[in-house]
Symmetry: C2
Subunit: 163 residues, 2 copies
């Protein structure tokens, strides 16, 4: 054999990232769904709550969440349907639409976070020593900046690498 590309260490390395993500994701998603906030909805509300004036252009939301525009549009539909978000038109660009989190949305996600954090602690941050976690985050950020520029889309536009 030529060294069997089937067992190439690079494939293993990527596999590790994927398995880690999928495993964690499945556990977190399950809990969030039980609380009535499926992962996509949770993430969207979180992004909105964190943003200036608690709103984001749909396009930016899509970019931040790694969704297509249509995906973001329908996600916002669902949130609007539950009263957790409202659409607002943009004065300076009449094509535009903001998604704005409502009081109800803010309160819902606020209530969901504590239990969510516990689970994260149990399955992710608590598994590693603090310095290990820092190292991991640093390395991941390095990769993320390459594979997913625009993760901070719509945040501001002038700084380099905020927290």
């Amino acid at each position: 054999m030529t060294g069997s590309p089937l067992h190439d260490p690079r494939i293993t390395a990527v596999g590790l990232l994927i398995e880690t993500h999928d495993g964690l994701q499945r556990r977190l998603a399950k809990q969030l769904t039980e609380v009535g906030l499926p992962r996509a909805e949770f993430d969207a509300l979180l992004r909105l709550a964190r943003s200036d004036h608690e709103r984001l252009r749909l396009h930016d939301l899509a970019t931040q969440l790694d969704l297509s525009n249509s995906g973001a549009s329908r996600l916002v539909d669902r949130l609007v349907g539950r009263g957790l978000v409202v659409r607002a038109t943009c004065d300076t660009d009449r094509r535009g639409a903001y998604a704005v989190i409502t009081d109800e949305g803010r309160s819902l996600i606020g209530g969901a976070i504590p239990a969510h954090l516990e689970l994260i602690e149990e399955y992710y941050t608590g598994v590693l020593e603090p310095d290990e976690l820092d190292a991991l985050s640093g390395l991941l950020r390095k990769v993320r900046d390459v594979v997913h520029p625009g993760a901070e889309a719509g945040t501001h536009e002038l700084e380099a690498a905020p927290a």
Copy 2:
């Protein structure tokens, strides 16, 4: 505010893992799809090709791929439909069904791997120094073993932590 749980560093840490994964995944998936092997199919063939006698029980395949049994069943349906895999009954357990990769399947994935490796190199392994990559893999493995035990399901049953 109580320290704003919205910006809890643990959420950021998880977000980093997710963003990195999603970004990488999207790039790799796009290429694989272009080559005619969507990510799920690619992964399944890879797992089969790597396994003893190039076959796996559907249940084990599901576990390895982090899919439900039904998802694995239909995935195998698709592969069978393309002649890349065949089902084989299990002698010792007549409920059972193996998925077995065919020559065609082996050849297809073999052809797809080189370009795939290049992309991995470009967006993942090549982004980091070799020692950084080792560190990252080590940390990820630590987390994975907690969130996704059974990642090696059906491989063998007696060792501790192979490559």
